[in-house]
């Protein structure tokens, strides 16, 4: 994007909480939402004398993600201590990675608004431990005391830093969506931005259009939803553009996004930047990653969102829009494929999943899909009833709503509520005859060439049947009857 005479340059740092059962360096559970400090032990409380031990599963998740982004996995990597004082951090240093990260040099493909795909480079991917949480008594400004909850301290975090190759706030949002989809597909992160499982910071700078040298960058923090990332970046690009247009210099600083007020404000400038005093973590030996183990992880990588989307278009003949929507989450894509296996009319299934299912579910993630009372085979069962003419599409929507509520099979509901279509030609003919007889004016209109009048008769019959009449048959019968009348 060029903001007038400026090129926008954005780099994203994404922190993803890994869904390992236990923490990065101790055996405590990682469950979200437990009472404060109940998921802690001397290690994650940073008690004197305690030592970290690496969670191998977290390494595996990191490698899995690195391979999905086509990164170079470093066969030897190291943890390092990053120092700063903050009471939510039990040791006043964070075990992270610095000079020797787990993986480097990969890429992620995103779709641009113009429909073209673009690769965004990934600079590095490393693992670290999360910090705890401060709870203030009242607002931060007036609190008399603050309390620390260390439940989150030590939860594995994966930090992925993109190259400064994102060119607009829309691209940043697209990057984040694609990034999240990959992580969720890999099963390494639940992708929940509101609960903080996925956090994003951005570096934004502007440079004269076409210039090679990057401008002064500003770091934006506290963007806790996809929408906010885009809004915050749009604001920041505008702010910097206006400043530069006025001939001002951009100050290198960290700014916080205030979602309520819709602006970014300065948090700290470079002069107060931390010296983290990184040095290799002496309590952990350098990590040696066995090539065979990495190969094994590569071998069992699942199909990734992009590949799946392309397959949905090729194999099911779906429009690109449908394929993109259905593959946004692995759970939804799997739901769709299961339903298609049971009822092989891909587009019809797609329509139902996109409109009816997603309307009824709280989300498209694993949790929501798992909780869906309408399972893929039940959805297929419902669609079969439409297909064989047992119920109309309209009735099916009502049946679907009942299925969501009661968790029953469609056939059971249709039977109990007597929703089977009236497809008896004799009964329908009688209803058609009665409708036509009761409205001579419409017949007259039809004769004069107003063929739309036929639709009114179909509507009447459908209404008279309580929606149960087979609309195709009714339509045919009405036409036949009117033909007869006009010829006479």
């Amino acid at each position: 994007m060029t903001a007038g005479k400026w090129d926008v340059v954005i780099g994203l740092e994404v922190h993803a909480q890994l869904t390992t059962r236990t923490k990065m360096f101790c055996g405590c559970p990682t469950t979200f939402g437990a009472p404060p400090n109940t998921q802690t032990c001397p290690v994650c409380q940073g008690m004197p004398g305690t030592l970290p031990v690496v969670n191998r599963r977290a390494i595996e998740y990191g490698v899995r993600t690195a391979l999905a982004f086509d990164c170079r996995v470093n066969h030897a990597c190291r943890f390092a201590r990053k120092h700063y004082y903050y009471p939510d951090m039990p040791k006043n240093f964070q075990i992270s990675q610095y000079e020797e990260p787990l993986a480097e040099e990969g890429w992620l493909e995103i779709d641009r608004p113009d429909g073209h795909a673009r690769r965004i480079g990934i600079q590095r991917l490393h693992l670290e431990e999360d910090v705890g949480k401060l709870v203030h008594e009242g607002t931060l400004e007036t609190a008399q005391a603050s309390l620390v909850d260390f439940n989150r301290a030590g939860v594995p975090l994966m930090e992925t830093v993109s190259k400064p190759e994102i060119r607009s706030p829309e691209e940043a949002a697209a990057y984040l969506r694609a990034f999240r989809a990959v992580l969720v597909y890999l099963g390494v992160c639940d992708g929940n931005m509101e609960e903080g499982s996925l956090r994003c910071d951005a570096n934004v700078s502007l440079k004269p259009a076409g210039a090679a040298r990057l401008g002064t960058k500003v770091e934006i923090k506290n963007m806790n939803s996809f929408r906010n990332v885009q809004r915050a970046l749009e604001f920041e690009v505008k702010r910097q553009t206006e400043a530069l247009d006025r001939g001002e210099r951009i100050v290198q600083e960290t700014r916080l996004w205030d979602a309520d007020r819709g602006y970014t404000r300065s948090m700290r400038s470079k002069e107060f930047a931390h010296d983290y005093r990184y040095f290799p973590e002496p309590d952990l030996v350098p990590l040696k990653l066995d090539a065979a183990w990495i190969d094994e992880i590569r071998r069992v990588l699942p199909e990734l969102p992009r590949a799946r989307r392309q397959r949905f278009v090729a194999a099911y003949g779906l429009p690109a829009y449908d394929a993109a929507l259905l593959t946004q989450s692995r759970a939804l894509a799997e739901y769709y494929e299961a339903a298609v296996r049971d009822f092989p009319q891909p587009k019809l299934v797609s329509n139902w999943v996109m409109s009816e299912l997603l309307r009824e579910l709280p989300g498209d993630d694993e949790r929501a899909i798992e909780q869906a009372t309408v399972t893929p085979s039940r959805l297929a069962g419902l669609l079969r009833l439409i297909d064989d003419g047992t119920i109309s599409g309209k009735i099916a929507k009502t049946v679907f709503e009942t299925m969501v509520r009661t968790g029953e099979e469609a056939a059971a509901i249709v039977r109990r509520e007597g929703l089977t279509q009236v497809a008896d030609a004799g009964a329908l003919a009688a209803m058609v005859a009665s409708a036509i007889a009761g409205n001579p004016k419409a017949v007259e209109d039809y004769r004069k060439g107003k063929t739309a009048a036929a639709k009114a008769f179909v509507g009447q019959v459908m209404k008279a049947s309580g929606g149960k009449a087979n609309p195709a048959m009714v339509s045919k019968l009405v036409e036949a009857e009117l033909e007869k009348l006009t010829k006479t």
Binding site: G49, Y85, F93, R277, F279, P282, D283
Partner: protein, 481 residues
């Protein structure tokens, strides 16, 4: 004053019981520790309970092993569940850990009876125990002198008969130097041989837990109980633990001993040098062959140590901020509270090292100091590798001098120089022991140091035992009225 092996033999024969022995130690502590000042916390109730359980096992004829009922002391750097663990610092004076260090747990499972927690230099930073913020510890051989440090408490306790054995830590010589000063045996095992879990960290890559004993056999028994892989310590070595007492009596015939030029320096105490030279001749007389070796990086080891150890310490000690445990001095706001807490909680030497360490890790200085120090550390390691390609053990003095007077080394550098012969083994991680090898004319103990290959504590102990058997220095006890 009996050794652990004498005590357990007596238990076995029914001549005495762990409870009787524990009572005797506790009453000796009550009588004499005012003079020595070895203990920070005496855990009499626990000791009684543990001793009674041991009594019962001996009564049934089923003791747990060679340490069952042995009354011992722990340097107050090891976390003990429910018993305050102070590191001799104001900042942890009230800290009661909710867990036991791995070594504490292993000693308890071996039946050892913990008498209490003993004094040390604050956070193990020092060579005289004078940096303890909580108590003065005196050398049992001369109460006007220091016991050495940082493990001065356990060394003095064992020398004075206030414990039959003890556990300390050696980061720059903190076991071997006080062992030499107090006339007892002190062993620094290979890095990773003994778990550091629950040992309050000073310098993580240099901290070595290890035992004190009145003789080599006791020291070997204690090592056997605490050594071995610990899944809670990622730097602990997963290698089988031999029976350290099995080959103890095999002598030194055929062993090649290296005598390093760099460990006999100008300015060292003449009486120390003479005693160590005689001791080396004793080993030769027992059948060992001698060879001159060179450890050329030795002169740089001390300076390098004072970059690496403070760097790691500045990081390890960052957690003491008054937020979670230990001392809290109220302040206007968070930063004020943290600053005041650290200002009041840490002593001068600890602050000096935190500042030193913070400086050497700072952006722009890292490569020149910490990065460079790591390279020198590699050179120190290579020195030992080269030497051990030719010899089985290195023999040298433990310290350049004997116990000095309280207050004598007011200059920090003079104090640091005390560790010049012990630091290289910490830097390279190889095992070393100090055994008594004589006394000065004024009656102060001198230590002989034996350094071995990584994980070869057995040979180190075996040579130390051969020397001990040929001499009687280890049988001398200080007079304490």
């Amino acid at each position: 004053m009996r050794t652990i092996h004498e005590l357990t033999d007596a238990y076995r024969r029914g001549e005495t019981t762990p409870s009787e022995a524990t009572d005797a130690y506790l009453s000796r502590i009550a009588k004499l520790d005012d003079k020595v000042g070895a203990y920070l916390t005496v855990t009499a109730d626990r000791a009684h309970a543990a001793a009674r359980a041991a009594d019962e096992r001996y009564r049934r004829g089923r003791p747990l092993g060679p340490l069952d009922g042995a009354p011992i002391t722990l340097k107050d750097v090891f976390c003990t569940r429910g018993v305050r663990t102070t590191c001799a610092s104001k900042i942890l004076e009230s800290f009661v850990p909710p867990y036991d260090a791995t070594v504490v747990d292993r000693l308890a499972k071996a039946g050892a009876v913990m008498l209490g927690k003993s004094n040390m230099d604050e956070f193990a930073m020092g060579s005289s125990t004078e940096h303890s913020a909580l108590r003065v510890t005196r050398n049992p051989w001369d109460l006007t002198r220091v016991p050495g440090g940082s493990s001065g408490g356990p060394a003095a306790a064992v020398a004075a008969g206030l414990a039959a054995g003890g556990l300390g830590t050696d980061t720059g010589g903190s076991i071997r130097q006080p062992a030499a000063f107090c006339g007892v045996v002190g062993l620094k095992p290979t890095y990773g041989r003994v778990s550091r879990y629950g040992l309050v960290a000073f310098a993580s890559s240099l901290d070595h837990p290890g035992p004190f004993g009145l003789d080599v056999t006791d020291t070997a028994r204690l090592l056997g109980a605490i050594a071995g892989h610990d899944p809670m310590d990622a730097t602990s070595i997963d290698a089988p633990v031999p029976d350290y007492t099995a080959g103890l009596e095999q002598g030194v015939r055929g062993l090649r001993l290296g005598v390093p030029d760099e460990y006999f320096t100008k300015g060292m105490d003449a009486e120390v040098e003479a005693a160590v030279r005689v001791a080396i001749d004793v080993l030769k007389g027992l059948g060992a062959t001698l060879e001159r070796v060179s450890l050329p990086a030795t002169p740089h080891a001390l300076a390098t140590y004072y970059v690496i150890a403070p760097a790691e310490a500045s990081s390890n000690l960052a957690r003491y901020d008054g937020v979670k445990y230990g001392l809290r001095v109220p302040g206007r706001d968070l930063i004020d509270m943290e600053s005041k807490t650290r200002a009041a909680g840490f002593g001068a030497e600890v602050k000096r090292r935190i500042m030193l360490g913070t400086y050497v890790l700072s952006a722009g200085y890292y490569d020149a100091y910490y990065g460079q120090a790591q390279k020198v550390r590699t050179l120190v390691r290579r020195d030992f590798d080269a030497a051990f390609a030719r010899v089985d053990l290195i023999v040298a003095p433990t310290t350049p001098n004997v116990a000095f007077r309280h207050g004598e080394k007011a200059d920090p550098i003079a104090m640091y120089l005390n560790d010049v012969f012990t630091i290289p083994a910490d830097m390279s991680g190889v095992p070393g022991v100090s055994v008594p090898c004589g006394f000065t004319a004024s009656g102060l103990p001198i230590g002989l140091q034996l350094i071995g290959r990584a994980l070869d504590e057995a040979t180190v102990l075996r040579a130390a035992r051969a020397y001990e058997r040929a001499t009687d220095w280890h049988t001398r006890r200080p007079e304490l009225a």
